[in-house]
Amino acid sequence: MAESWTLSAALNRALLDALDEDPRLLVFGEDVGRSGGVFRVTDGLQTKFGAERVFDTPISEAGIAGTAVGLAFAGWRSVIEMQFDAFSYPALEQVIDHIAKMRERTRGRVDMPITIRIPAFGGIKGKEHHGESPETYYVHTAGLKVVVPSSPLDGYRLLRLAIADPDPVVVLEPKARYWGKEEGDLTVDGPGMGEGRILREGTACTIVSYGSMIARVLVAAETLAAEGLEVRVLDLRSLSPIDEDLLGAAARDTGRIVVVHEAPRTLGMGAEVAARVMELAFDFLEAPVERVTGWDVPYPPASLEEHYLPTVDRIAAAVRKVVAY
């Protein structure tokens, strides 16, 4: 029988396997060593690989990111952790000004093989600053790649691919999914960097989403199936670049697109998905693209979380709306 993995455990295994394979890989950040990370993703790694390769840093997000830049000049590959979404912002200058641009600046002479792990998104009844969706800050920065796993097995795959990539990759880990389980073998085989995946087939409509929202999307798809509406579910996985092939095919095949994310609506990924769909398949569209998103407000306190996050009902209603258009 195949083993059952949580996302946290699968990511932990991805780091372990990568550290094992590449002696020039380092893992560092706040509380990643002795404690094993606030979400246990780095649990046991310092014991296995030593405090030179897996180490705690002072509370110093810009320092962590800038250190990875200097280490890259010295030929080291880094996985750095920003402990929470909103705590990644002090590092933005290092990420945007240097990690994303060093390759360009040096005409390709100095790569930045840096993986930036960020526990992100809401849904855990967290405090202010523990529920944010920072993806578009990174997506909007040329030179970076951005991936978001929605399940344990894909988390393993995406983190391994990110670490192996010669370019910097931001891995946004959905906190709400850390403890969700999936059975199967951990492998890098399957969809690659920049590729999405189809989680459910259907012709009535395609729901495009990623990360923690995928679970709700799949529940909504079940509900809709009971009503006789079979929807395709496209898990983007990679927000930068976007898998245009899968997205374009979905728009052409189903003619209707609903995009779901928990980030605020304005200039969220939904805006990009809608624009791409128009560029790729305007003549095939049977209805306007519908966006089911968080609101243009700061992430709310825990007691109001469900008023902010896209719910199964909102997702299903959006599908019914575009189908009835």
Partner: protein, 354 residues
């Protein structure tokens, strides 16, 4: 007053007084040939700096940040480095770049606008790419030094930065990490009195070198217009780092004679009198006066330096002017190691009319 500018407080370490009179031990370990070479480098660098300003005025460079007055701080420190050491500079370290062997025409592509600040090979020259975010390179230097330490290497990484940088968070983060990790690094601040229009007294209420204690490392204040003193303190800091004894913070007091850049008008915030007063502390005159008194240089040597400086400035000018705008496809060539997909290649075609 022994130093130009706005600094009060602790007198810096000094070997040559402003008039070239020794006030300390001049036997810093540079033989007469090395001393002459240091003076030659200062003369050539200053001439090139002035040529760059002329090139900007003539439309051949976009914006250029001059370093006149800082030749001793830059060259005195740079000649203390070995080939295995690595520099993370600011945008005002052309004289350091020249010591490291960076091709001046390649370096000036940044200011010509034909590329960003790293078209030379940073790994071969061991001189990092230049750019204008303030203080961020300090953390890069600490990361690089950490990498060297993990490799059990012998190289030392030097971060150059200015007084304005020390107000940035990245100075603090870099210095703190350097101290905690005890990395082989030297944090070298050229306090040139001005961060564009803000004098150092308004930048920080304390003395920069004293902050070292808070980071668990030694700090030293040196007369940045005294080449011998700058060389001596940098050499010592490098030796400490190389011996595994950790980082050092150096504050070199100097003075920015020129504008912040060719886009800046210092007449709006400081007087000509202040600048003229600072010329008394000129680093080249001071060093040359002492070398003459010691009999290490004569008129013939200085004439040869002047000729070399002219020729170098002219050759660099010609090289700069001959550097064309790069082809438009270069915009796309190095953003990613491989084209990333997602319509990116289509954008490239659209941009290039392919």
């Amino acid at each position: 007053m022994q130093s130009p500018g706005h600094w009060g407080g602790t007198e810096p370490f000094r070997i040559l007084a402003a008039d070239g009179t020794p006030v300390g031990d001049t036997a810093v370990g540079l033989d007469p040939e090395a001393l002459r070479d240091a003076l030659r480098r200062m003369i050539v660098a200053r001439r090139l700096d002035r040529e760059c300003i002329a090139l900007q005025r003539q439309g051949e460079l976009t914006v250029y940040p001059g370093f006149e007055g800082q030749e001793a701080a830059q060259i005195g420190s740079a000649i203390a480095l070995g080939p295995e050491d690595f520099v993370f500079p600011t945008f005002r370290e052309l004289a350091v770049a020249m010591v490291r062997g960076v091709d001046a025409v390649q370096y000036l592509q940044y200011h010509r606008g034909t590329w960003h600040g790293g078209p030379y090979d940073p790994r071969a020259t061991r001189f990092g790419p230049i750019c204008i975010p303030i203080a961020t390179q300090i953390v890069h230097a600490v990361g690089h030094a950490l990498g060297t330490k993990l490799d059990r290497g012998t190289g030392v990484t030097v971060a150059y930065f200015g007084d304005g940088s020390t107000s940035e968070g990245d100075f603090h983060e870099g210095a703190n990490l350097a101290g905690v990790w005890r990395v082989p690094a030297v944090l070298l601040c050229q306090n040139n009195g001005w961060a564009i229009s803000v004098p150092s007294a308004e930048q920080t209420a304390g003395e920069i070198w004293k902050r070292a204690e808070g980071y668990g490392m030694p700090g030293v204040r040196v007369d940045g217009n005294d080449l011998l003193a700058v060389y001596a303190v940098t050499r010592d800091a490098i030796a400490r780092a190389r011996a595994g004894e950790g980082p050092t913070l150096i504050e070199a007091l100097t003075y920015r004679i020129g504008a912040h850049s060719t886009a800046d008008d210092p007449g709006r915030y400081r007087s000509d009198d202040e600048v003229e007063a600072a010329r008394v502390f000129d680093p080249i005159t001071r060093f040359e006066t002492w070398l003459r008194a010691e009999g290490h240089v004569d008129d013939a040597f200085l004439a040869a330096c002047g000729e070399e400086a002219e020729a170098f400035a002219l050759a660099t000018r010609e090289g700069v002017i001959a550097t064309p705008a790069p082809p438009a496809e270069w915009m796309f060539d190095w953003t990613y190691a491989e084209p990333p997909g997602g319509g990116w290649a289509r954008q490239r075609e659209e941009a290039l009319g392919g």
